[in-house]
Symmetry: C2
Subunit: 530 residues, 2 copies
């Protein structure tokens, strides 16, 4: 099972240190398909980078304390074995998996690394760690699966430790009648799936980071999965949560819904470790589906496809998985497949009981909106490759190309404009050539997500090029009326646009909330709020 | 249409001043059915109260300012016509519609009345009012439909004005593609329905207070409607909102869903006017249903009925309206109808297209769980009387009985215990006899609401008796694991239990948020947070 690979990879203590220069362990690297390599060579100037520097040779500003006082206090609180100070382990926890993170890891030029990786085992121990770090004014970077692609694990420019949640990895309780489960924050998603499956349940939360991400990370970043059209976003699933803060523990969520004041769950969901450390969540679960069925449909244009998926989102039947590629993504996806009749590909799928009945009802809607059925083959292709993209980003880097993703959500009426303006802005910002692919993968009654993949040559200064294109895309999202992020989170990369999106008064409000819960300002400084 | 009645009743300026001693205008009073009156006389000691005191004779501590400085500043900001100081108008805005409110209104013993009723017309004018009141340290009680049944309009023990939102009563925008509408906060629900119907849309939000409540009130109290099983709670519908605070205006909600930080919409929804004044909301709307169908089912026991509705809530088909009465409520409801075969009544309904197909699928599930179909008559009865209960509360008071409601929500696994313990606690607290009825009317995958109606004799000190029974019920809800309110809100009546439910640290956090947004502490002091 993948779970074993995942656990040994993610527990922060294995020998697989080189894995952190790539998505997943080196053993799972995927080569770029020949057809894709050929296509890229035709349209982009490929510039393969030098080989990755081993972790032991990584350079970083470590800002060591002069003495071991804080580390000794942490050792006394949670046990010496759980305060890790070996340099490779610290280096591995010094960044996430954003493209700049990967480039820095490859070049061995990490900016900063934590003084230690601390691994508390209980909520009370997390509170102790936060208390000690508050007293010694040492920042704390909560770390789950380490999969942030938006600089959510950017190390602060002050002395800091990484708080690895890997030991909070249990299934605490299952309530089969209410269909809820309480899961600890450090539980990797595949392990959570195994544990729930023993009770006949599934969470249905399968983002692209699924193989490595953790439950707490899903909550802290408002993650959205490939099946979120059917199962809902992770923030929809959470009915209760526990948060450890420097002031103590908060537990919220007494009932499925309540009119008792503001919904404080929604203040901590998406707080990205800046207001507290989520240590467990109670989530709605569903019975394991007895049937799954994924199939493909073709539309003449993205516009036609948008009409069709909007109709399904608003009037049903609601699909479990729904992914509509624009013309460019459809074309790139079809490269080497022999399929090349243009148009746009929709992959749509159902999980549950009687899925074929629902699929038939949906087929009538899709046909009425200009869809042409392509059978199950595109669905199987999607299922087989659903986790490939981040591995292919590494393969592209190896081949000398540069891949990044940009995502947003908007109301249906704004979606076409967001699509056009973001595409145009990215192409403008990358005058040396780029491929810009997009798809809709999460639909709501009032709107949908939009996910762009950008492939370009890295140029002489890849991080600078990345900043330029990222800023252009983000400006275009804001100007066209989208949200700066639909499922990756804010981290450091989206911080300025996030602030503009919610406005000065709301930013001040978040600062006031943070100051109240974290008076020493130790929790993930620099993340989320400027 | 009801809208005209509603508007003239609710605009705070009509001649129908005596209406504020009852639910709705006196002209709409409903008599107690003879059969009910007979039943009550058998089980309770009825003690008819003295006739209501006219508003002009109302006594109250008005705490007038020595001078008119603050009123003149308000007149300058929003126009002299919109700062109302006549005593009947002020008296009418001095309370809501809780049972103690009604008793005080009837006896003419209002505790306090506002110095003025101010009626700003725009968000900017609301901000001006808040600014002026902050400077003069005058508290502000936001007022929509005035229908709070939990002391949400309890006048503070400091100089204060009521901020009547009646002039913010427009439909600002409809986005037919995205199926959203922007509605101003003071818009009465029936008028909102009329305006949306002109565009072919419905909100589907029909709480029992529908005839008099306003859009802003729904948002500020996290209202839930009789069709919320199908249309969702009001807080589910809100995609964006504008809040006027003493520090300025906050606008949140850029997309249907977002991973951009905490969901700040959820901080203001349910804030009951303590963090700001919601001035408009953008809500998801749906096409007007082409068909509606409501029908009745009988179950041998509440336990059997709970199994059946849980099955529907978890595995579908999802109903629009779902109301399962316990044995006592079923028996009382059947009084005088000739139906008397015991068991529990389920009223279930669908709104939309092809409702009979869905009803047939649901029928199979209900039959499989021991349900026996009763046809459409119970559904028609429910529909015809869906807004009657608050009028009957007045009729009961006239007849010398005392009716109150208590409501909660809990996970399915806890629901039977909550039902039993709350019932027992109320009966214990009312040793002179009481009827305790209950129903489930909002279901979720993980749990449901539970709504109790209590009828007893008022005794020599009705408000004291009310406090005793209310405290016993609230303690039982807390002890059995329910939330202190599923759809009425916290107000003053649930404040202490709310604080216990979220814990000291969360209460402190809310206080910090309030202090940041409302440094002078003028917004609804005493409401929500102790």
């Amino acid at each position: 099972m993948t779970a074993n690979v995942t656990l040994s990879h993610m527990d922060g203590d294995g020998e697989d240190a080189t894995g952190r220069t790539r998505w997943g362990p080196a053993s799972r690297a995927k080569p770029l398909p020949d057809s894709a390599a050929k296509l890229l060579a035709q349209v982009l100037e490929l510039t393969p980078p030098p080989p990755a520097v081993p972790p032991a040779d990584v350079t970083a500003d470590t800002r060591e304390h002069d003495d071991d006082t804080v580390l000794n206090a942490l050792r006394a609180a949670i046990g010496a074995d759980h305060v890790r100070t070996s340099r490779p382990i610290r280096a591995r926890h010094a960044a996430g998996m954003s493209t700049p993170d990967l480039l820095r890891r490859r070049s061995g030029e990490l900016r900063r690394i934590p003084q230690a990786v601390v691994r508390p085992a209980t909520t009370a121990e997390v509170v102790s760690v936060l208390d000690i770090c508050s007293r010694f004014q040492v920042a704390v970077v909560p770390f789950g699966g380490g999969t942030s692609v938006v600089g959510g694990l950017a190390p602060p420019a002050v002395p800091h430790v990484t708080l690895d949640l890997g030991r909070l990895n249990g299934l605490v309780a299952v309530d089969a009648i209410s269909r809820t489960a309480t899961l600890q924050a450090g539980l990797p998603a595949p392990r959570a799936a195994e544990l729930l499956a023993e009770h006949g349940f599934t969470l249905g939360h399968v983002p692209q980071s699924y193989e490595y991400a953790t439950i707490g990370g899903f909550a802290a970043t408002r993650s959205s999965g490939q099946a979120s059209t059917g199962y809902g976003r992770f923030d929809d699933m959470v009915t209760a949560l526990t948060v450890a803060t420097p002031r103590g523990t908060i537990q919220v969520g007494r009932a499925p819904a309540s009119a008792a004041g503001p919904d404080l769950r929604q203040l901590f969901l998406g707080s990205e470790g800046t207001l507290g450390v989520i240590t467990d969540v109670t989530v709605r679960v569903r019975p394991m589906p007895t049937q799954t069925h994924y199939e493909g449909w073709r539309f003449d244009s993205f516009t036609d496809g948008l009409h069709a998926v909007r109709k399904l989102a608003q009037d049903g039947p609601r699909a479990t998985v729904l992914r509509l590629s624009d013309e460019v993504e459809t074309m790139i996806g079809a490269t080497g497949s022999g399929r090349s009749d243009g148009g746009c590909l929709l992959v749509i799928g159902w999980e549950g009981e009687h899925v074929h009945v629902v699929a038939e009802t949906a087929a009538a809607v899709l046909s009425a909106h200009g869809g042409r059925p392509l059978g199950v083959e595109p669905g199987q292709q999607w299922e087989q490759h659903r986790f490939d993209a981040p591995y292919l980003r590494d393969a592209l880097l190896d081949a000398g190309a540069f891949a990044e993703t940009v995502e947003t959500a908007a109301y249906w009426s704004r979606l076409p404009e967001v699509h056009e303006r973001v595409r145009a802005a990215i192409l403008d910002a990358l005058p040396h050539g780029a491929l810009v692919l997009a798809h809709v993968s999460h639909v709501y009654e009032t709107g949908a997500s939009l996910y762009f993949t950008v492939i370009c040559s890295p140029g002489p200064d890849p991080i600078d090029r990345w900043h330029t294109a990222k800023a252009a895309a983000s400006d275009a999202i804001a100007a066209a009326g989208g949200t700066i992020t639909h499922h990756h989170g804010v981290g450091t990369d989206h911080r300025d646009w996030y602030a503009a999106e919610i406005g000065d008064l709301a930013v001040d409000l978040l600062r006031a909330v943070k100051h109240h819960l974290d008076p020493a300002g130790i929790l993930n400084p620099g993340i989320l709020v400027p």
